[in-house]
């Protein structure tokens, strides 16, 4: 309850700022950290990337700025009402509700999602505090671990993520905080986060979780907050190493970066979402060469994305610089599933064991 009251007062303070500007004959404006690649800095304290000191001003002086402020006010009002009425909505629902906000209507859901994040950044609250839920969840886990979940009826249910689930695994809910989920028992050596569903299913079919004592987590592309939060908890609470296994292209590196370093969009809560200890397993551009993997040519977009990563502060270590430059030189990209070139079992029998022992995870 205190948490709800806090959220209301924090969010209301935004409205107060604008209101007082009007009263003092100032042009209304709100400031927030600039949410771009150029304004993220490494936080020594949390070993993650956070927003820096650059501030952006949303001012009513311009039409766009004024629209943003008006939309912000509508969202503030909407969130306030939800908290007071003990309701919640998905981001998508909020977007549809905003259709009725006449002048403050959004042009796309991306805009409304992004504004919800702005509110987190400004208030320091989490969107869960605002009763806003993401659409995407249902990333999956398979492995020797027992998770206790408090279900919607309030019952605590223990789920063994091998014995109690089907081949699709245990589905991660959008809220993975301790009051919802706790880890009871586990017997595994590491967590393997897998980008694609196809590879996840291959590892499950080949029994990699049992054979190699791994907890498999499906990232489902760019991972949802809950997936990243769960990885962090697995890493920090159980002390399990987290390894990220993706395709070999610039977009996949960004998936790893958001898991390990924190995403640019959510840099305000990086310390809460990012797992600084996570390691990139592959597929690396070097793997293309070493394993002679089938490839596709880099597209113009791929090349631009790689170049942009070269100027991204998160990719400034020797490993990434070397790999990205190598890839630009090769002009090629590859997929996890390209390993099937050597047979369906190659990834579990040869590639992963080799890479894991190289990284010192298994002996």
């Amino acid at each position: 309850m205190q948490r709800d009251r806090d959220a209301i007062s924090k969010i209301q303070s935004i409205a107060e700022k604008v209101y007082n500007d009007f009263k003092n004959s100032e042009i209304p404006c709100i400031t927030l950290p600039t949410r771009t690649k150029s304004n993220i800095v490494f936080s020594e304290k949390h070993s993650v990337w956070k927003y820096g000191k650059n501030l952006s001003k949303r001012s009513a002086k311009t039409l766009d700025g004024a629209y943003m402020l008006l939309r912000t006010m509508y969202i503030v009002e909407f969130i306030k009402q939800m908290i007071e009425n003990k309701k919640s909505s998905t981001l998508r629902e909020m977007y549809y509700i905003s259709e009725g906000w006449s002048l403050a209507k959004f042009n796309s859901q991306q805009e409304s999602d992004s504004l919800a994040e702005d509110l987190e950044v400004i208030t320091g609250c989490l969107r869960e505090d605002f009763k806003l839920r993401p659409e995407e969840d249902g990333a999956r886990i398979i492995g020797n671990i027992v998770i206790e979940e408090v279900t919607r009826t309030g019952v605590k249910r223990k789920i063994h993520c091998q014995d109690d689930v089907g081949d699709a695994g245990y589905s991660i809910p959008y809220n993975v905080e301790p009051e919802k989920i706790s880890f009871k028992k586990y017997d595994a050596d590491f967590v393997l986060a897998v980008e694609t569903g196809g590879m996840f299913d291959r590892l499950v079919e080949n029994g990699f979780d049992e054979k190699s004592r791994a907890i498999l987590v499906h990232l489902k592309g760019q991972p949802a907050r809950s997936t990243r939060r769960l990885l962090k908890r697995l890493n920090e609470e159980l002390g399990l190493p987290v390894l990220v296994f993706t395709d070999c292209d610039p977009w996949s590196y960004r998936i790893f970066a958001s898991v390990a370093y924190g995403a640019i969009k959510t840099a305000h809560i990086s310390e809460y979402l990012a797992t600084p200890a996570a390691q990139f397993l592959g597929v690396t551009p070097s793997d293309i060469v070493n394993y002679e993997l089938p490839t596709d040519d880099l597209t113009k977009e791929d090349i631009n994305a790689l170049k942009s990563e070269l100027s991204d502060p998160r990719f400034q270590d020797e490993f990434w610089k070397g790999e990205i430059k190598l890839q630009l030189q090769l002009g090629k990209k590859s997929e996890q599933q390209a390993l099937a070139k050597y047979g369906l079992d190659y990834v579990t029998d040869t590639y992963l064991p080799e890479k894991l022992s190289e990284m010192g995870i298994i002996k």
Partner: protein
């Protein structure tokens, strides 16, 4: 001794009649192919009708009908052109239609459509050559008289009319002429051009109503958009600068004057006492000499003297331009489906080449549904006649191509050639003598004076176009600001106070801070007002003639969003034709083409409303305000430009 060969040859040499010559050189007159034949026939008929109506002071009402005569088998068509003109007296009918080079205009130096008198009789000849059929003419000159019907052909040996039949008939029209000529032509291909020609004709002849009935019976009316006849063009005497030796010799021989000085003064333009003396002195000729006695050599010296003495330009009031307002009006009417963004026009003052007065008028239609990526369409006219062919050879094309249109917002490769963009260009050259490149009169010859005038006209027009374009861009920006302060800010204030459950805060000062300009907005309204409501100037009610009056009302709102009181002058342009019937508050100046207000001490957030009303305008004559300011930094002002003086 054998007969000299010359005698033998002489037997073969005989006079070739004009008619025979043209029979063999059809292309010179615009009958080069079956498609052209259709258009040329229509064109000659319509040109004649327009000239006849205007000379008689009648608003032209012209019917053009093309009938398929044989189901398309041999491509025989009947071309019918009927007008409400003065008619032709009985005696002249055979000569007008059955004789080449017969007409009243050949010797006259004045602006007219046809010049050589070849036109309509050439069509009669072409019809006769291709179908073997005579031309049917009906003409009536007075209500009380019957109409005459003739069937006429041309005797090509001696260029004389051949009357096949003549009769009188009843015709409902009070007066007018109708011709029916059967020709072989290609209407299917010519269709587009016929329409284009009639449409173009309608644009430059807003006083004419033209009805077209196509072979399939479809009827199209090109509406009259002006109820006033163009100012009649007047005949002038030849100007010494433009005269040729042959003409000078002929004139000297046939003059009634007995002295050279009188000859020069009475038979030429711009020759006063002083100039005449100067010319005679320059030529070394006695001014009392009888002009009939002058030798060829003496006339040649006279001609040279003309060129050496500075002679005033010929009178230019003999020309009859269409006028900026009328061009805009008819362009607007004919481009309705395109719904153009704006139309700008420019009339140049008259000018002279080789002693011939001429005047250039141009117009630009911009935007709407016009294609953005094709070259602009050029509509060319000479003495109100559309020129449909040989665009590439025309001086107007050269003039347009030499302007760098890129700086006026159109695309153009390398700043040369016909520009690309959503526009139509119109160019009209009026002259007592339009110098065509050939007898088919499709392209104006490359005369530097004309090219220069066309360039100047288009540059001026392009500047107007550019003003519209920048204004449009500015308007979009100001619209944004306006939305901001009138919609978004009040809503923002309302929402925050609702969330906080507090009273709505005042906005004025914030708005002033955000805007930081003087805001000028305007609107134009066009209404029909019954007499009783109209006209109050200086508190007096004046009654206007006519039962209804169309009133153009322009409203201007000025709001000071600066943080200090201001004073400045505001100028609102108006069309010269617009008659001011009301202006409130009272302007400090009302001129032909603008009104000037003095805005004294407008306080922050204060709003001032200005209004003026005009009559005698069509809706399209004034659709948006052109506002200017001075006495204030123009950057402080949105909605008006810096006044650059008159």
């Amino acid at each position: 001794m054998a007969n000299p060969i010359a005698l033998k040859l002489a037997q073969k040499q005989k006079e070739i009649s004009v008619a025979e010559f043209f029979e063999r050189n059809k292309h010179i007159l615009g009958f080069g192919n079956p498609t052209r034949a259709i258009i040329t026939s229509v064109k000659e008929g319509v040109d004649n009708s327009l000239d006849a109506c205007e000379e008689a002071g009648i608003l032209p009402d012209i019917l053009v009908e093309i009938k398929d005569e044989d189901g398309g088998e041999k491509n025989e068509y009947k071309i019918i052109v009927e007008d409400n003109g003065p008619g032709i007296i009985k005696k002249q009918i055979p000569n007008v239609f059955g004789r080449l080079l017969y007409g009243s205009r050949f010797h006259a130096i004045k602006q007219s459509r046809g010049q050589q008198g070849i036109g309509i009789s050439a069509v009669v000849l072409y019809g006769q050559l291709t179908t073997g059929k005579p031309t049917r003419v009906i003409s009536k000159i007075d209500e009380k008289m019957p109409a005459y019907v003739y069937e006429i052909g041309i005797n090509t040996h001696n260029n004389t009319p051949e009357i096949i039949s003549q009769d009188i008939t009843h015709w409902e029209k009070p007066c007018g002429t109708r011709i029916e000529i059967n020709i072989i032509g290609d209407y299917i291909r010519g269709k587009r051009f016929v329409h284009e020609y009639l449409q173009s004709t309608s644009i430059v002849n807003p006083h004419a109503q033209i009805t077209f009935i196509a072979p399939d019976g479809e009827k199209h009316v090109f509406e009259r958009t002006a109820d006033i006849l163009p100012r009649p063009s007047t005949e002038i005497k030849p100007h010494p600068y433009g005269i040729e030796l042959g003409t000078l010799m002929k004139m000297a021989k046939s003059t009634k004057c007995r002295k050279l000085s009188a000859f020069l003064k009475t038979e030429f333009s711009s020759m006063g006492e002083r100039t005449t003396n100067a010319v005679c002195k320059e030529a070394g000729l006695d001014k009392n000499i009888n002009p009939k006695m002058l030798t060829r050599d003496q006339l040649l010296t006279l001609l040279k003297a003309f060129k050496k003495v500075k002679i005033m330009a010929p009178p230019t009031n003999c020309l009859s331009p269409i006028g900026e307002t009328l061009i805009r009006r008819s362009l607007k009417h004919e481009t309705q489906e395109i719904s153009p963004e704006f139309i700008v026009t420019t009339s140049r003052p008259p000018s002279v080449f080789s002693g011939n007065p001429f005047q250039v008028e141009v117009g630009i239609v911009y935007g709407g549904n016009l294609p953005k990526d094709s070259p602009v369409k050029i509509l060319r006219f000479a003495n109100r006649v559309p020129l449909l062919y040989q665009q590439g050879d025309c001086v107007s094309t050269a003039a347009i191509s030499s302007i760098d249109w890129r700086r006026y917002g159109l695309e153009q490769k390398g700043g040369k050639g016909i520009p690309v963009g959503p526009a139509i260009f119109l160019v009209h050259v009026a002259s007592t003598h339009v110098p065509f490149t050939s007898e088919s009169k499709e392209a104006i010859a490359d005369i530097p004076e004309i090219e220069n005038e066309i360039k100047l006209a288009f540059r001026e027009c392009a500047r107007k176009m550019q003003r519209h374009l920048t204004k449009k861009a500015k308007r979009a920006k100001t619209r944004e600001k306006f939305d901001l302060i009138t919609k978004i800010l009040p809503e923002l204030a309302k929402k925050t106070s609702l969330i906080l459950n507090k009273p709505i805060p005042p906005l004025d000062e914030v708005i002033t801070k955000i805007m930081d300009v003087v805001w000028i907005e305007d609107s134009v309204e066009y209404t029909k007002k019954p007499l009783s409501q109209v006209i109050k100037s200086d508190g007096q009610t004046t009654l206007y003639e006519g039962s209804d009056e169309h009133v153009t009302t322009s409203r201007i709102t000025i709001v000071n969003y600066k943080r200090k009181p201001l004073k400045f002058n505001l100028y609102a342009l108006k069309p010269r034709e617009g008659k001011i019937i009301k202006a409130d508050p009272k302007p400090i100046e009302i001129k032909d083409y603008y009104l000037k207000w003095k805005i004294d001490n407008i306080k922050p957030t204060e709003k001032i409303e200005l209004l003026f009303e005009m009559t005698s305008l069509a809706k399209e004559d004034f659709e948006e305000n052109d506002l200017y300011i001075d006495g204030i930094n123009p950057e402080y002002v949105i909605g008006a430009e810096k006044w650059e003086g008159e």
